[in-house]
Each structure stands twice: as C-alpha cells, then as structure tokens.
C-alpha cells in the first residue's frame, strides 16, 4: 500500500517533522547546503532548467494542452536546486502539464523518485521502491523537507557509492 503524507500548515509541519526522536535521523543526512550550487558543478542542471523554461514557456508545449512553465515556476525550481545538498546528483529536470517543474532521480523503472515544485509553495514527491511506493506533499520553507531529503539521499550518487 502506498504511504501518503500531507502536511496542513507550519505548526503541524514542525510538530510532525521535528519530534525529538527523529532529529538524530535527520541530522545523519549530509546537508552541505549551498546558496550557489551552480558554481559547485551543477551548471548542466541549471542549463537544463533554462532550456526547459525556453521550450515550455508557451501554452500547449506538450501538444496535449499543457499550461506554460512560467518564470515564477522556474525561479522556484531554481530556489529548490540551490538548497539541495551538493551530493544529491545525478538527477534530471522535467515539466508537467500543470506548468510545474519536476526533478527525477532514477535507477530503474521501479526504483525512482520524482519531485514536483508547485507554484503554490508545496513540494510534492513520489517514489517507487521496488514493489512498494511512497508519496507526499509538504510546504517548501526554503529547505528540503527532512523526509524528502532522506529519500534523495537514498537515491543519490553519494549513497550509491559512486554508481550512477
């Protein structure tokens, strides 16, 4: 059965994600945040985002009636990129018909993580983990939500020991 997590607001967010017994796990995840991941080797990802912004700026960019990816959506996606730990790669950039930007970490079709950076300030994520799955939504407060950070860590090159 898929697990669902939806957080309603700031107080509930903190109470849910920062109980004292979970702090140890959260702190165990590498969090070498940078405000400028572009200069730390992520230029290709930012370039992909710029290209996507160019390709998807008009309505119907997918041929099926998609909403445009706006400058605001790209700006928010850029903010998200800049708070990811530098060892979070590799991952790819995409867009969905609602006009939101997406990021995908991929090992196999049934072992992937996708993140949607929503213009309403939420981060939505879904992962297939073999036979099981997990998905949830959280507000984006300028940091990657801890549970998502743990998932990203599990899919990252850092965790995979150098394997793509």
């Amino acid at each position: 059965m898929p697990m669902t997590t939806t957080i309603a607001g700031p107080e509930e967010f903190r109470a849910t994600w920062f109980p004292s017994d979970e702090l140890g796990d959260v702190r165990a995840v590498p969090r070498h945040h940078s405000r400028d991941n572009y200069s730390l080797g992520w230029a290709p990802v930012f370039d992909d985002l710029d290209q996507l912004a160019q390709e998807c700026r008009e309505p119907n960019w997918d041929g099926y009636g998609a909403s445009p990816v706006t400058a605001a959506a790209v700006s928010l996606a850029r903010q998200f990129l800049n708070v990811l730990p530098v060892e979070s790669g590799p991952f790819s950039v995409g867009a969905i018909p609602s006009g939101d930007v997406t990021f995908e970490w991929y090992r196999s079709p049934r072992n992937t993580l996708s993140v949607i950076v929503d213009l309403n300030g939420q981060i939505h994520y879904a992962a297939l983990l073999g036979a099981s799955s997990v998905h949830g939504s959280e507000f984006f407060w300028g940091e990657v939500p801890p549970r998502l950070l743990t998932l990203i860590h599990d899919f990252s090159l850092f965790r995979a020991g150098g394997a793509a």
Binding site: G65, Q122, H135
Partner: protein, 141 residues
C-alpha cells in the same frame, strides 16, 4: 464527457511522445509522459491500438506533434509512442472514455486532485510502458 467504457485489460493503448525528455537514454518512459493535463478537467489522452492500421496510428501521432508549435512556430518532433496495457489504468482506479475524434481516441479520467498521488500513478504507468521509437518510414510522410 461521455460515459466510462470497459476496455479489455490486455488491450494496448498508445501515448504519443513528442518531447525528448519523456523517455530516457535506456528507452524507458518517464512519468511526465503520463501526467494528465489539468484543464478543463484532469485527463490523459491516449489512442486505442485495436482496429487501426499502423500507418494510421503514426498519422495520429504526427497530427498531435503538428498541433504543438514551439516559440518559433515550428511543429514538434514525434519521437515515438509509449504503449501500455489498458489494465494499468483500471488497476490504479482510473476510468476510460472514448471520443469520436480523433479516431480511436481514449481519455483516461478519474485522476486524484493531489499532485503527489498523480505523480505516483504516473510513475506506476510509466514503469509498465514500452517506448516504441517512430520507424524511419513514418518520420515524415
């Protein structure tokens, strides 16, 4: 909107791929290819494979690509199609309706509103999909 119909779970439905980012280098399909459009209501456009010749199928795909113009008013490239069995939609509690036009058109409806649920379902569908690159002879006719 027409009433939901029942399609055999073993019947193939095609989703045309007109963005290179919708498939990966290993020819697997990304979930973005199966995310529904938000307006006028959440639905995903597919084409039924039964009762249609292969050249007709690719013609429909090319028409969809021609309908998508980039910022310089150029038609999109049709890269191929992603084939899935209809059963994956019912397995994820989605329903199917048919349209008279374009030929063999099937809309996938009944999507949840929550975007994380949408993405989870799109990932399940994509994981079951087979990417079929457009054959050279159908690239431009």
């Amino acid at each position: 909107m027409s009433d939901p119909i029942t399609i055999s779970s073993n019947e193939l439905l095609a989703r045309f791929v007109i963005r290179s980012s919708w498939f990966r280098q290993d020819n697997t399909v990304r979930p973005e290819a199966f995310m529904p459009r938000p307006v006028p209501h959440l639905d995903l456009s597919t084409t039924r494979r039964n009762g249609i010749e292969l050249h007709e199928l690719w013609e429909i795909g090319r028409a969809i690509a021609a309908n998508r113009l980039d910022s310089e008013k150029r038609a999109a490239t049709l890269y191929g199609r992603a084939d899935v069995f209809a059963g994956i939609f019912s397995k994820n509690n989605l329903a199917m309706t048919i349209d008279l036009f374009p030929k063999n058109h099937v809309n996938i409806i009944g999507w949840p509103a929550d975007k994380s649920s949408l993405m989870r379902i799109a990932k399940e569908i994509a994981a079951s999909a087979v990417f079929v690159p457009i054959p050279k002879e159908y690239e431009s006719q």
